[in-house]
Subunit: 339 residues, 2 copies
């Protein structure tokens, strides 16, 4: 019997929150690698808010996923067959393999993974694009100085939890904004944030005022919307706002709400800067080495929120991101073995 | 008969567009300078959009003008009596003297003016805070490179007209956004902008697309609102958005509209940065020297829109700014002599 490759292909461009029917579950024969290709059997899928943007038409930093195309996603798996000079059968690799069980790869963007240094899922999170996004976004764009106040939204999410810890390691006062007491307790008790703001408790303005008495020097924004607007009111002079994401707006059916308080950038001689981790590709080795060292020393903690049940659960697992149901890096496990 | 000092004092905090009754016209005896002070008889008043912000309560880069206080404004006048060591009677000076005929000054922020180098009103415009704002905002915050595309809004206004010319002098393609055919003709025919966009003609998006085929590398924004949002859609990779002002929003009765397309900052790895000219005070001599040299060589043209009729006309003259009725620097002449 020919083994089958299960895939989720984009079936429709969602308006607002995606529905399971926006993808189509397809099974086709597992392909054969051509010369220069390897075949990867995926074990873990990275679930990221940015994937929602890839489903939209229009100008962005990568082309949209086309209708009928396998949904784009990062993943981690094992080379099962190879006609590629650099990757041999049995090796563990990460890359943008798509939402499918098997992927052909020409090696572009593929990283070798060493599971003896960290559990495999960590390579999709803290030692992957997630950790690198936090590392370069916070340090290169945010440029925090010791003693400064750094506010991170989406602080219990994959990127935010790492960004906040890097700020702490760099001697900053770190305030995380997260939803619910459990996440808030996790970032303060486990991750060493100085304070947490539970936006679900309401009166974000008063909570921010209380936790940032000297204003905000760096704001690492993953959520946008009202949270961004409220933090703008608290900027300190010369503040840097790092635009990493805007998860509160990705599923909005209306055009996104812009930050009405953006003129605080003028009042406070502040900047708001967007970035993409891909632009730092040449420095990935530096980032991975530093993140790995912090992980090894225990200064940095990594948490993966691994959903089991296999590829079929992709649509529902993906939506957890937009309901704030994950803590740390959301990962879909594709193997039946325990994580 | 004791000479009288006419003043406009703030009477009420306006909601939206100021009314004449938001100020009170007062006459009081001309004060006597104390030791260390000089008395300035004002000849020209600088009318600036920022003055609208100074009428509001709340946190900003300067304290608000208090109710009952003389309205704050820059001006230029002659020292008529002096007990100040640095300024003698007869000297022409500029400074923040307020909306009044006579002002006492302790010399703080006062600049000596040489009317043999340029007509006096130019020292409130291109050779004053206006020109310096354009100079440092464009060059230090915008950092345009030769060959890049620079878009300036409020391009026929005091700051915009200078910023656009500095971009042209620096070898950029300069596109100005202004209201009406006369202003558009002025900036292209007289000031050497490469293109003008008349926002009153409608379809700003299509006009921008046509005039910025390679995208926008630097956007020098004086207006905010819809214009900012539309230019964000045109940003080139690594673009710099300079937030100099937001005149379209200063008289809004609703909370200002934020730039809904701000996530283009992420897509294009772009920044949006606010600034205040005051932070460049140590470099004013450099700016004035350069602006003066460009003026002298004819590379830079300065236009002052001088309203006559004296101090009594302040409220109506000020409102011209918000109706887009001025071209170049709006100045109220306080003397009866011809400008």
């Amino acid at each position: 019997m020919t083994p089958l490759n299960a895939q989720w292909r984009l079936a429709a461009r969602p308006l607002g929150v995606p529905k399971p029917s926006d993808w189509e579950y397809v099974e086709e024969p597992v392909p054969e690698p051509a010369d220069g290709q390897c075949l990867v059997k995926l074990e873990y899928l990275s679930l990221d808010p940015a994937m929602r943007g890839w489903m939209n038409e229009g100008r962005s930093y990568v082309p949209p996923v086309e209708i009928g195309e396998v949904m784009r996603a990062g993943g981690l798996g094992r080379v099962v067959e190879s006609r590629h000079p650099d990757y041999g059968a049995g090796e563990l690799v990460s890359g943008v393999f798509g939402v499918q069980q098997y992927a052909l790869s020409d090696g572009k963007g593929v990283q070798r993974v060493d599971p003896t240094l960290a559990p495999a899922p960590v390579y999709l999170g803290t030692l992957g694009m997630t950790g690198l996004t936090a590392y370069f976004g916070l340090l290169d764009i945010g440029r925090p100085q010791p003693g400064q106040t750094v506010v991170v939204s989406g602080a219990a999410g994959a990127v935010g939890s790492v960004a906040g810890q890097i700020a702490r390691i760099n001697g900053c006062r770190v305030v995380g904004i997260a939803g619910g007491p459990e996440k808030c307790e996790w970032i303060t008790e486990e991750l060493g944030f100085d304070a947490a703001i539970d936006y679900k408790r309401g009166d974000l303005r008063a909570q921010l005022r209380e936790q940032t008495p000297d204003g905000v020097d760096v704001y690492f924004d993953n959520v946008g919307g009202e949270t961004l607007d409220e933090v703008l009111r608290r900027l300190a002079r010369g503040a840097r706002v790092v635009i990493c994401g805007a998860i509160s707006q990705y599923c909005a059916e209306q055009p996104p709400k812009g930050p009405a308080n953006y003129m605080q950038l003028l009042v406070m001689r502040a900047s708001m800067t967007g970035f993409l981790v891909f632009d730092f590709a040449e420095r990935y080795p530096e980032g991975i080495a530093q993140l790995g060292q912090w992980l090894a020393s225990g200064e940095l903690r990594s948490r993966e929120d691994v959903v089991t049940g296999g590829l079929e659960r992709f649509p529902e697992a993906f939506l957890m991101l937009f309901r704030g149901e994950n803590t740390g890096k959301l990962i879909l496990q594709l193997t039946e073995a325990a994580a």
